[in-house]
């Protein structure tokens, strides 16, 4: 037992050599690396994962976007044909719908989420119950949830069928139009706005609210002058998440919207699958990524996240 302990000790000390003790023989390379730069070494797995799983596909997509149309190899002479094709046809309509609906979804969710988030953090007596109700649907696939709405709202669906069977009336069903797409997007992306916003609201010090009232502010003035500015980090993060996710959304328009509008993500999918034109799809995807990045950066620059989050200044 004692011999075993001694050998363990010597093995351990060779793994973690005392930096002060004079080394008789130079330690192996790995040990020296570990001593000199433990940080980069520990970050290695994540770095590899990001390189293989994130950066490589991205580079692949961008490279494909410069390949001749309808080709499947990366070794041809680069060309701008795909971008020419995109700009000369009507893809801007799909881009427009995606941006518009993402923006509308964000605004709609800002308005809907504020009272819920406020109640969740401050007034409701059982906030856990509501939180659970809001989180549970996230365990079900987005498509399944949207199909649920299709079944509910379609002609002879749950609502219409019930009305016909019970009252013999035909209800106009609000399916396959733009408002229902917006509804679907708001429905799917609600948690991404709500929870960051609730976090933002919970960061407002109660004494600031009381002080504002004490200095004569009305409910509305407290909201405008104190609550919204102080909850801004949460509001900003929620808006960013919602907008970016909504910009790339596809199922809502496909399932609930029928063919009434085509979102850009749908066009990309068609190019890659049905049309078998990977370079075109890659060009559209690259443009979408650039558009998203440009909008996010513009928003971040205006919001000054540094100031919002680093309150220590």
């Amino acid at each position: 037992m004692r011999a075993w302990l001694l050998s363990l000790r010597s093995r351990l000390s060779s793994m973690f050599p005392d930096p002060v003790a004079p080394d008789v023989s130079p330690p192996p390379l790995a040990t020296r690396l570990w001593q000199r730069a433990p940080g980069p070494l520990l970050a290695m797995p994540v770095l590899v994962l990001l390189l293989v799983g994130f950066l490589a596909p991205l580079i692949l997509v961008v490279t494909y976007s410069f390949m001749p149309p309808h080709t499947f190899s990366l070794t041809q002479a680069p060309t701008l044909d795909n971008y020419r094709n995109v700009f000369s046809s009507t893809y801007y309509v799909s881009f427009g719908w995606s941006v518009l609906l993402a923006a509308l979804t964000t605004v709609l969710l800002l308005l809907v989420s504020w009272p819920i988030a406020y109640g969740l953090t401050r007034s409701f007596s059982k906030p856990m119950v509501l939180t659970l109700l809001l989180v549970l649907p996230l365990f079900i696939s987005e498509n399944v949830r949207l199909f649920g709405w299709v079944l509910t709202l379609s002609n002879h669906g749950v609502l219409d069928g019930t009305a016909r069977a019970l009252f013999d009336v035909e209800l106009p069903m609000p399916l396959y139009n733009i408002p229902i797409v917006l509804f679907g997007m708001a429905f799917i992306f609600l948690p991404f706005m709500l929870f960051p916003m609730a976090l933002g609201i919970s960061m407002i010090p109660e004494s600031c609210r009381e002080a504002a009232y004490d200095l004569g502010a009305t409910r509305l003035q407290v909201l405008r002058e104190v609550e919204i500015p102080l909850a801004m980090p949460g509001i900003a993060i929620g808006s960013l998440l919602t907008f970016v996710l909504a910009l790339g959304s596809i199922s809502e328009a496909k399932l609930l919207g029928g063919q009434s509008i085509i979102m850009i993500a749908h066009e990309i999918e068609t190019a890659f699958t049905y049309a078998q034109n990977w370079p075109l799809g890659a060009a559209l995807a690259t443009l979408l990524i650039l558009l998203t990045a440009a909008m996010v950066i513009a928003l971040l620059a205006r919001l000054d996240m540094e100031r919002l989050l680093g309150r220590g200044r």
Partner: protein, 350 residues
């Protein structure tokens, strides 16, 4: 003159718990009144009602004779400097000070002018106008919070022990400044604190709160020299306390040691069972001198308090505090005689 603020039988319950019991208090225009109590005495509950963030269960709060119980904080012409100061972290110093004016839609130029005036009055440089709250030190934030409250131009300014988080020296400076500002503005200040020292320095009158009851109200001198009971006397500073029983001949017998004391001629409470003497009223007696009350003991400790020296004298296994200007001739370990004139002691209800 009619009081500016009057509390009439104010009673506050939280469920079955009595937080405040029949509080009566009158505060006059231009007065600096401090409500003092240990933590849990109900002072925060009281100030929240005075400001309008809470309501009494029964009783009335009258502002210039009008009942204001149910009037919400944002409708009252009073305001408060919070314990946490509650400055708006997302606004600059200038915007913080201008906040109450902005609420009243005062034009920007006059808002700014008033903010500059207040910065000057509170000894803050004008360059602070654009500073962020996080760039200010503790003392500077105090001044900004006070400036913001003064910008509101309240009829009564309440303070919820805003100085408690500061270090000793800064607190002393700000206490005096606050008193000076109160004098120069002529406003009514109502201050809440757990520190009797703070109350003594600043106040015209002090109200002492103990477990939801107003024990005594009076000027600092009155309360110091004529405390109503043993609690107030002890709250007002270090004091020696002997439990006594009154004999039929008027003399007092110590219930622990059986020693007899000569009673003070003027007694606030005839049924008093606590004989209390401040350390500075007791003297070390030289050989041969006699006094109404004399005890023998051993000097066990001495502490220098700067201009004064405090001694601990062990008498019959009990420690008696004696405080002298300068130093005594005796040293630690010496046998000493201590004494006090009967009338410098107080006989109070325990």
């Amino acid at each position: 003159m009619a009081p500016i603020l009057e509390l009439v039988d104010v009673h506050k319950m939280f469920g079955d718990f009595v937080a405040l019991e029949r509080i009566n208090l009158e505060i006059h225009d231009g007065e600096f009144v401090t409500i003092v109590g240990p933590s849990g005495s109900g002072k925060t509950t009281l100030i929240r009602m005075l400001v309008g963030m809470d309501q009494p269960t029964t009783g009335n709060i009258l502002l210039r004779g009008e009942r204001i119980n149910e009037i919400h904080a944002n409708q009252r012409p009073t305001c408060m400097v919070f314990q946490s100061l509650a400055l708006f972290p997302h606004r600059s110093v200038g915007e913080n000070i201008e906040f109450p004016l902005k609420i009243r839609a005062v034009p920007k130029a006059s808002r700014r002018a008033r903010a500059m005036e207040l910065l000057k009055q509170l000894h803050l440089p004008e360059s602070f106008y654009h500073k962020g709250i996080h760039q200010c030190s503790g003392g500077e934030r105090q001044r900004v919070a006070l400036a913001r409250a003064l910008a509101f131009d309240p009829e009564i300014l309440f303070f919820d022990e805003p100085l408690s988080a500061l270090d000793y020296r800064l607190r002393k400076t700000l206490e005096k400044e606050l008193k000076a500002i109160q004098r120069s503005t002529g406003k009514t200040f109502v201050y809440i604190t757990h520190s009797i020292e703070e109350a003594m320095v600043m106040s015209d009158r002090i109200a002492i709160l103990r477990s939801g009851r107003m024990v005594q109200v009076g000027t600092p001198d009155e309360i110091y020299h004529r405390p109503r009971d043993a609690f107030v006397a002890q709250f007002m500073g270090e004091i020696n306390r002997f439990s006594v029983q009154k004999a039929s001949d008027g003399t007092l017998t110590d219930t622990d040691t059986g020693v007899r004391y000569q009673a003070p001629t003027r007694v606030a409470d005839a049924d008093g069972t606590a004989l209390m003497i401040r350390p500075e009223q007791i003297r070390l007696l030289p050989e041969g001198e006699h006094m109404d009350n004399v005890l023998s003991g051993v000097l066990t400790q001495s502490y220098s308090l700067g201009s004064r020296t405090q001694y601990q004298v062990s008498v019959d296994g009990r420690t008696v505090l004696v405080e002298l200007l300068g130093r005594a001739n005796a040293g630690v370990g010496d046998a000493v005689r201590i004494g006090w004139p009967a009338d410098s002691a107080m006989l109070l209800k325990a």
